[in-house]
């Protein structure tokens, strides 16, 4: 996709009076290497290459995507698309100028050969099986991705990005005399195989085996409204679901969020500061530019309990009278972008986890989470615990299974009583209107009062 062609396409798209035109191009290679049954069982490569063209006038937007990149097809597609608008051109003779050009050099593979990668997956299997005879199956998967992105628009802005992702997912299945359990963990970054330098693989695999084995003897979770201590890293999925989605322009601009009209209003205690930052070097949810060509940035969403910003994309900038936040994201060329989170976290506080546990007579310690969902309009959310424990008389006692937490965004923000200093980031995928995008959820351990816990006891 050279600039001259893109200029030609943009100018063609603008001649029926649209006030916004954007072309997104991507070329992606994605490889999955999976170990199962002690062998490299699957190696699958995906090649994605296509464009998405977005036109808008006022609040009416049309989008089309195609992977037939012939000039003839693109011209026909644009001609069809622009028939949605009628009028004299507002923008014409667009000449593209570099705006945000990716020029960083990344050593993605860090010297790891395919044989090295196979050996690492086999090492995971070996460590797990040697650590416990109860391990019945180990599945370990590397997912590598390299994506080239080009974006240009009616203002002549031309931006590029090169995006790298690496994800390692480990599943451990255990069996003790017919009783089965499993657990998993996912690790990811946006800089490649230096991921393996960020944690002790052997220790991690043994930790996962220990969790799966412990789950075999876990007891049914109690139910009712009680205080909950939520562990660091991906525990912040509560923040992501309960709070982050309600700050996205997609729902705020339509008055479909429980946080509409709440800017500069108090949502939580002074202790609570929430940040979304797409610039954290190497973090799983980081990108150089967003999917509208804007530099990603560090956005303070809640500062000392006060709502300071929403997450806003270009289409919603005008109707919301809110500056854009570099948050337009999409899964791939098949989706138009919408405002999304990148790396969202609660800033660390000063409380100690020991004091949180001690302060609870009867409650739950949700050490790690599975994920969940939220209705941004009502603020009702739920999420499941991957690893949870009972707290009795100020002490962690038994591991519990089947713990689900439910609540309401505004209530839970008010009920965050303590925030510790052990901030960590966890990785995941977030699904919404513009597809699945990699996101980081992060937090220190927090104590929340009055959450509805559902279990089978």
């Amino acid at each position: 996709m050279n600039k001259k062609k893109l200029e030609q396409f943009l100018n063609l798209s603008l001649d029926t009076g649209t006030d916004f035109s954007e072309i997104y191009y991507e070329n992606t290679i994605n490889k999955t290497i999976m170990l199962s049954d002690c062998k490299i069982d699957k190696v699958v490569t995906c090649l994605d290459r296509g464009i998405g063209i977005r036109l808008a006038k006022g609040e009416y937007m049309v989008y089309t995507s195609t992977n037939d990149l012939s000039d003839e097809n693109i011209i026909n597609t644009i001609n069809e698309l622009k028939q949605n608008y009628h009028g004299s051109p507002i923008y014409k003779d667009v000449v593209l100028k570099d705006k945000n050009i990716y020029n960083k050099k990344i050593d993605y593979h860090h010297g790891y050969t395919y044989q090295d990668k196979k050996n690492i997956l086999k090492k995971i299997d070996k460590i797990a099986r040697e650590h416990s005879s109860k391990v019945e199956q180990v599945q370990a998967t590397f997912v590598e991705e390299e994506k080239d992105v080009v974006l240009c628009n009616h203002l002549g802005e031309y931006s590029t990005d090169k995006r790298y992702l690496l994800r390692l997912v480990i599943h451990i299945y255990v069996n003790d005399k017919g009783k089965k359990e499993s657990t998993y963990e996912a690790y990811g970054n946006s800089s490649g195989y230096n991921l393996l330098d960020t944690f002790d693989l052997e220790k991690e695999v043994k930790r996962l085996v220990d969790i799966a084995v412990s789950k075999l003897n876990s007891v049914d979770c109690p139910n009712g409204i009680m205080p909950v201590v939520i562990g660091p890293a991906f525990g912040a999925v509560i923040l992501h679901e309960a709070c982050g989605h309600s700050m996205e322009a997609t729902s705020v601009s339509k008055n479909a969020s429980v946080l509409c009209g709440m800017l500069n209003k108090r949502l939580g205690s002074d202790k609570l500061t929430v940040i979304d930052d797409g610039t954290i070097d190497g973090a799983w949810g980081s990108t150089f530019i967003d999917d509208e060509g804007e530099l990603t940035r560090k956005n303070v969403l809640i500062e000392s309990g006060i709502l300071k910003s929403y997450l806003v994309d270009k289409i919603n900038e005008k109707p919301m009278h809110h500056k854009i936040t570099g948050s337009g994201r999409r899964q791939n060329y098949l989706y138009p972008p919408t405002s999304r989170m990148n790396n969202t976290y609660i800033a660390k506080g000063t409380d100690k986890i020991e004091d949180m546990i001690k302060s609870i007579d009867y409650g739950i310690y949700a050490k790690t989470m599975n994920g969940g969902s939220v209705d941004p309009n009502s603020g009702e959310f739920n999420f499941g615990c991957r690893e949870a424990f009972l707290i009795e008389k100020g002490k962690i006692t038994k591991m519990v299974k089947g713990a689900t937490l439910m609540g309401n965004t505004l209530d839970v923000l008010k009920n965050i009583e303590m925030i510790s200093d052990d901030l960590k980031l966890g990785t995941g995928y977030c699904g919404s209107d513009s597809g699945n995008v990699p996101v980081t959820c992060g937090q220190p351990t927090i104590k929340v009062n009055n959450i509805l816990v559902g279990g089978n006891k």
Binding site: D41, T66, T77, N84, G178, S373, N382, K401, G402, L452
Partner: protein, 424 residues
């Protein structure tokens, strides 16, 4: 282009089969009788199955670049440990294309606008979003000897309403799919649904207890969808399926019969062959509660020395065999209990290894066989085995909303519902 690639690969001792998917989608989003956006997509995607020195390599690609693909096949070959004795599609299948007429965006827009009149008398509806998606897929397989085609289309309507009344803010949504564009039928369905939206403007819950329940056809469909992996030989052989040691044993009540019916043209997921060119067919997976049929692709079939069941792409039209009772009959038989209308975020609250379920739900408290009040902030806390073993009666209200599974409502005894109320 595909033929050239097949020929070029052959010169490198690589045998290639190409599965092509042509997809067209049209999405029209309206809100409060204004068009918000339209989104169209036309793509052609290829799945390459290559056999090289007794290993099978799969690639998914947007374009055919013979040299690049051959290089990737060789690269992936080096990494794979597993030999695979599967073969290519070889049956000359008699394929019947489902022909559907695409509806113009203008016609769709007019039809969607017309639906807004249904909301006019409902003051509680503060905001209404109605969307339509057309999804048409044509698939074909080409290798050295065959060239076969199949086509299927789906029309999906979805509605989301923001409800406001007396300081309570709720969302109500539902969606409905058809094989043929049928705005009249959808309008009837929407009218029925909109009349119940106001029920949601409550903050009611229940006391945590064990209840007799009706699990709606939507919930049953979602659960079947989530657990369908458990019937696959690949997961069973790797002991990652919760049914790995339960083949040929009684797993559910003898009232439960689970069927996969991919060739049934009345259901949404009709498909005549899978992506490996294996003919699909009607099969009983669970018969009278006993797990009797495992699902195979060519690779797992080859390992177990059986024939593929045509499930290389998962399941199509999987359902529990309907009973005779209508939904109203089930409500009369329930008399007092809870109707679970919907469940959310299954991925977060279900343990796929053990079958334990703890998921957010909404529904109605039922008294004297009638919906008494709407419930939210409740949790369905049970297991797949408990649900399907405690079944009292199966309804005949088959619900189709996706191409993989369909659902029927079920009357079930003694299921724990967690709520935040002290007393019933």
């Amino acid at each position: 282009m595909i033929k050239e690639f097949i020929e070029k690969a052959k010169t490198e001792d690589i045998l290639v089969e190409v599965f092509t998917t042509n997809n067209k989608t049209i999405q029209v989003k309206t809100r409060n009788k204004k068009v918000e956006s339209t989104n169209t997509s036309v793509t052609k995607k290829y799945t390459i199955k290559a056999i090289y020195k007794n290993k099978v390599i799969k690639l998914y690609t947007d374009y055919i670049d013979s040299e690049k693909l051959i290089s990737l096949i060789k690269e992936n070959y080096e990494m794979l440990d597993v030999e695979d004795k599967t073969s290519f599609a070889d049956e000359a299948l008699a394929c019947k294309n489902f022909i559907d007429t695409e509806v113009s965006v203008q016609q769709i827009t007019n039809d969607l606008f017309d639906l807004y009149s249904l909301a006019e008398k409902h003051e509680e509806i503060h905001d209404l979003k109605i969307e339509y998606i057309y999804d048409c897929t044509e698939k074909s397989i080409m290798n050295d000897t065959i060239d076969i085609k199949d086509k299927n289309a789906l029309h999906n309507f979805s509605v989301q309403a923001i409800l406001l009344k007396g300081g309570i803010r709720k969302t109500s949504s539902f969606d409905f799919s058809f094989k043929k564009y049928d705005i009249k039928k959808f309008k009837e369905k929407l009218e029925e649904e909109i009349a119940t939206f106001k029920d949601k403007l409550t903050e009611e819950s229940v006391k945590t207890d064990n209840y007799k329940i009706i699990l709606s056809n939507t919930c049953v469909r979602k659960l079947l969808n989530y657990f369908s992996f458990a019937f696959f030989a690949e997961d069973i052989n790797k002991h990652t399926s919760l049914l790995w040691d339960k083949f040929n044993t009684q797993i559910f009540s003898n009232k439960i019969n689970i069927i996969e019916d991919p060739t049934n043209e009345k259901l949404l997921g009709t498909t005549l062959f899978d992506s490996e060119g294996v003919k699909t067919y009607y099969k009983e997976i669970v018969k009278d509660g006993k797990f009797i049929t495992k699902l195979y692709n060519k690779k797992s079939a080859s390992e177990d020395k059986v024939a593929s069941t045509g499930n290389s792409d998962g399941v199509r039209n999987l359902y529990i065999k309907p009973g005779n009772a209508s939904f109203d009959d089930l409500m009369q038989k329930l008399k007092e209990g809870i109707f679970i209308e919907n469940i959310q975020a299954l991925f977060a609250g279900i343990n796929k290894t053990t079958g334990e379920i703890s998921v957010m739900a909404e529904g109605y408290l039922v008294k004297e066989g009638k919906k008494k009040k709407h419930l939210n902030m409740i949790i369905l806390s049970t297991s797949l085995f408990e649900l399907f073993n405690n079944v009292i009666e199966i309804g005949n209200d088959i619900e189709m909303n996706d191409q993989t599974c369909a659902g029927v409502s079920m009357l079930i005894d003694n299921i724990k519902i967690v709520g935040n109320k002290d007393s019933r």
